[in-house]
């Protein structure tokens, strides 16, 4: 086990509420992998979506505050679990590291001297695992392999786009493949793995988002996936909670469990992470059914 692997941790709002199992499973996994995850002692909302307005810098300040705190607390690297937090913090941080940016304006506005440096490196947990942990380390910790379980990793947008913050090839992402393979799962590549789920439009245009969910889920299903692994609470919500709405137009859609990739890791490693605050009980139940294959029957039919 590697010594002294320590990283700052920015949780973000949803990880403390609706996505608690994401956090608890990730922390459990990190612990056994020897990663010391140190939550920032103070943090606020990341700002959620990154503002694209080139003139108005105000919407970036929420992120900047977090970055300043990370630097003050002595972290050179901080990690997020939520894809959106990653995207927003990373894009904001890029304001400070690239030319022609609002760095001076923001530092002046906040009366900061010498100002935030831009030196904190922002990781998504997946990126952190790729850089610091070998798949064999993951494999060595697996106690109940996900044999016979076909998992389709779904990346969505926020880890891949825009290009400057991409943790993987935006058109052919596969950063989850070695991890899921190490867990013993069958990894399903599907063409919608980098397609947008509709994101925040879920608040007003749910039908439009449900159409997205249908295409994504049915694409994964037709490639033979038993479940979809995600790393974003918003994707999780849109793909799981909207399945009912999807069924109003596509009654034939079979239930598709949506799980956080860390839950699969924790499961396979035999770690207890459940917080009993799962948001979508029917999906968790379905996922669990998939995760308990009998040795003879991979359980492929259980859901069908």
């Amino acid at each position: 086990m590697p010594e002294g692997l320590r990283v700052g941790y920015f949780p973000g709002c949803t990880l403390k509420t609706d996505a608690r199992d994401f956090e608890s499973s990730a922390l459990a996994v990190a612990r056994v992998l020897g990663i010391e995850v140190a939550e920032l002692s103070r943090w606020n909302c990341c700002g959620t979506v990154y503002s694209l307005d080139a003139v108005n810098l105000m919407p970036r300040l929420a992120s900047v505050h977090n970055l300043i705190r990370a630097e003050e607390e002595g972290f050179s690297e901080i990690m997020t679990l939520c894809s959106m937090c990653y995207n927003t913090l990373k894009q904001t941080n890029n304001l400070f590291t690239s030319k022609n940016n609002g760095r001076a304006a923001i530092n002046d506005f906040l009366c900061l001297k010498p100002g935030y440096s831009g030196r904190v490196k922002i990781y998504h947990f997946l990126e952190f695992l790729r850089e610091k942990i070998r798949p064999e380390q993951v494999k060595s910790l697996v106690v109940s392999p996900l044999a016979g379980v076909a998992v389709a990793p779904y990346y969505g947008c926020l880890l891949l786009r825009p290009k400057e913050i991409a943790i993987d090839d935006p058109e052919k992402p596969e950063i989850l493949t070695p991890i899921l393979s190490a867990l013993g799962a069958k990894v399903i590549d599907f063409p919608f793995n980098n397609e947008c789920c509709g994101a925040y439009q879920t608040a007003v245009h749910q039908e439009a988002v449900a159409r997205r969910a249908y295409r994504i889920i049915s694409s994964a299903q037709s490639e033979g996936a038993d479940m979809i692994a995600v790393s974003c609470p918003l994707c999780h919500y849109n793909l799981s909670a909207l399945q009912g709405l999807v069924r109003s137009t596509h009654p034939g859609l079979k239930a598709m469990p949506i799980v956080y990739f860390t839950e699969l890791m924790a499961r396979a490693m035999g770690l207890d992470y459940r917080t009993e605050i799962g948001v979508i009980p029917q999906d968790v139940a379905a996922a669990e059914a998939r995760l308990r294959p009998s040795p003879n029957d991979p359980g492929r039919e259980a859901l069908k």
């Binding site: 935006p170 058109e171 063409p191 694409s219 037709s222």
Partner: protein, 653 residues
């Protein structure tokens, strides 16, 4: 005392707009040694030149400064004027007060002041100029043609038919290039190989042509009129002189690999003839695929089956030295790999192919015998989507330019597919139709209307597989709608890029290429057939994407250029080259390593016998690198001596 003359050009309003010519002339007239200062509307005009020549004689001018445009433009014009007036042309210099001054200034006072400073500097430099004489070098009356596609073939035939020897070097085992792979050509639907193979045979039968196939140019030295070329002949492991082309070696060869001539759609053996009409009609063993290695002979099947005893596993690479007076570069193009466009599936989907692969399918001698079939399952596709501008006009994928031929060949593909599968559906995604050749627009229009092809104006965003079908996401910007097509086959008109290895060749030949890797012409408008190295000419798609018609025209033009060079027994070389002062040279050899042209060598001094730098005047291009690099200041660039440069600087600052 030196008598200097200054002539200032208005260049219409080009200079006069921001430079006060009259004030400039008056100030210039007061400068030391200046006995005459004049201005004129266009010095480059006939009357302007006559005036200069007359004034040189009348005022007995020793040296003349022309304050006008860049010497790159009219340096030669005025040098000839000086010569006509009996003045050594190297005693006439130009001060560029247009590109370097009037064009970049808005304010008249600033412009005039700068122009004066440039003239002062020019005069300072001119004061130390010395008369120089060009020298002659003999012309070797042979030509090297690199590349055996239609461009190289055409250039070779034009030169050889004029009675000069040609060395034609082709990298692959056969002549033909991409044209040999094509089915039918636009807009006339001529059978490509039917019109090409007679020319290939003609090359092989012409007594003036030395065909070096399966070979590469590895080194080239010398300059215009005298190039020494090293060609590496790769071993074919089949003796060219013995092979009868019978093909008996093929059936028992146990190794099957993908056939590059069929763009990977078909297969061939390790011992192969690329295609039936190959020239030379000699088999080649693909040593990378063959079971045998340099150390170990595992399989002797072909050896045993060859009655002519032409197989030789011990063959080794050979080097051949040839001397030529001119070079024609015709190294052609290739298509950007599909793998570079991730959103189109990279190279993951078998049924997403490029234009050349589709050509092979359409070719009667191709892997499918001329029947259009899906590579994945061999079925005849009913819905075919063509995607134009796949990589082209796409700076984000590194290709800013239009590949020029895709609009035409896509229309041709659509037509030929419809002829082959009349009940099939064709969809063509395009951004603009560029059909600017003779009969081209008519061809596209005819295909659209008579074959009822639906052209959709939009660029495809994503292609992915869904079951046995391919889903294409496009748009029709004319109707303002997204378009989704379930296709059986997708043909990408991938961007035309310079052939791989052309960059290496550019370095070997010391010639320039543009940002996209195509060889640069000496002047985009006026010298499109010449590289920036004298004596090296350009033909075909190596210079830029072009169709067969344009390629053949350019090849014939390049051959003409080479022939006009060969018509001379001697070539005049510029005397503005480097010279070593032996007494100052300390023999460190730094200049030898600096010289990019291999023109400097260490030689024993004629006086002392010590090793000193010596410059080969034929190889020296007068770039001045050795002059600037010499730690002792022993090297002088004639026409730009230190004295001249320092005098120029002193006057200017």
């Amino acid at each position: 005392m030196t008598r200097l003359g200054v002539f200032i050009c208005h260049c219409g309003k080009n200079i006069a707009r921001t430079v006060n010519i009259e004030a400039l002339r008056e100030k210039a007239a007061t400068l030391p040694h200046v006995v005459l200062a004049k201005d004129y509307l266009y010095l480059c005009s006939k009357p302007g030149q006559t005036m200069i020549a007359d004034d040189i004689r009348e005022h007995r001018l020793d040296k003349v400064l022309i304050a006008a445009c860049s010497p790159r433009l009219h340096g030669k014009t005025f040098a000839q004027t000086a010569q006509r007036a009996g003045l050594n042309p190297y005693l006439l210099d130009m001060a560029n007060i247009r590109e370097h001054c009037s064009w970049v200034h808005i304010d008249g006072a600033e412009g005039t002041e700068k122009a004066f400073s440039i003239i002062k500097g020019g005069l300072g430099r001119l004061l130390y100029a010395e008369p120089l004489e060009p020298f002659q070098s003999p012309v070797t009356k042979r030509v090297l043609v690199i590349g055996g596609g239609v461009a190289g073939i055409q250039a070779t035939l034009d030169i050889a038919n004029s009675g000069y020897e040609v060395y034609l070097v082709e990298k692959s085992p056969s002549l033909g290039g991409h044209m040999a792979q094509l089915g039918e050509t636009f807009p006339t639907l001529d059978c490509s190989s039917c019109i090409l193979t007679p020319k290939m045979v003609e090359v092989s039968q012409n007594e003036h042509v030395h065909l070096l196939s399966y070979s590469e140019v590895t080194r080239i030295e010398g300059n215009i009129g005298q190039f020494q070329v090293t060609v590496r002949l790769r071993p074919r492991y089949v003796d060219e002189t013995l092979c009868t082309g019978c093909g008996d070696c093929v059936p028992t060869c146990p190794v099957v690999v993908s056939n590059e001539f069929d763009q990977g759609l078909g297969a061939r053996k390790a011992v192969y003839l690329p295609f039936p009409q190959a020239v030379p009609a000699v088999y080649t063993i693909d040593w990378d695929a063959c079971l045998n290695t340099d150390k170990l002979i595992i399989c002797e099947n072909c050896y045993k089956d060859c009655e002519a005893k032409a197989i030789n596993f011990l063959m080794e690479p050979q080097e051949k030295m040839v001397e030529v007076g001119a070079v024609v570069l015709a190294t052609g193009y290739e298509l950007m790999p599909v793998a570079r466009i991730g959103e189109y599936g990279g190279d993951e989907y078998e049924d997403v192919i490029d234009g050349l692969q589709f050509e092979r399918m359409l070719s009667a001698s191709g892997p499918t015998g001329g029947v259009v079939r899906r590579p994945s399952d061999g079925r005849i596709p009913q819905n075919v989507v063509f995607v134009q501008c796949a990589g082209s006009r796409d700076p984000e994928h590194g290709i800013p330019y239009c590949s020029k031929v895709c609009c035409m060949y896509t229309a041709k593909h659509a037509l030929l597919y419809k002829h082959a599968v009349p009940d099939g559906q064709v969809y063509v995604f395009y951004i603009d139709i560029r059909a600017a050749g003779k009969g081209h627009e008519e061809f596209v229009q005819k295909v659209m209307s008579e074959e009822r092809i639906l052209y959709l104006r939009g660029k495809v965003s994503k292609i992915f597989k869904s079951g046995a079908k391919l889903v294409v996401w496009g748009a029709d910007t004319l109707s303002g709608r997204q378009v989704e097509i379930e296709a059986d086959l997708v043909v990408l008109a991938m961007a035309v890029i310079p052939s791989s290895g052309s960059q290496k060749l550019a370095r070997t030949l010391h010639i320039a290429s543009d940002l996209s890797g195509f060889f640069s012409e000496a002047h985009p408008k006026l010298r499109p057939l010449e590289s920036n190295t004298d004596g090296i000419f350009l033909a075909g798609a190596a210079q830029f994407a072009k169709d067969i018609t344009d390629t053949v025209s350019q090849a014939t033009g390049a051959a003409g250029k080479a022939l006009s060079l060969l018509a001379n027994d001697f070539i005049k070389l510029e005397p503005t080259i480097s010279e070593v002062e032996e007494g100052i040279c300390r023999g460190c050899g730094l200049c030898v390593s600096i010289c990019p042209f291999g023109a400097v060598k260490m030689l024993p001094s004629t006086r002392t016998g010590a090793m000193v730098a010596g410059i080969n005047p034929i190889l020296c291009k007068g770039c001045g690198l050795c002059t600037a690099g010499c730690l002792s200041g022993a090297v002088t660039l004639k026409g730009s001596s230190f004295k001249q440069i320092f005098a120029q600087l002193e006057e200017m600052v």
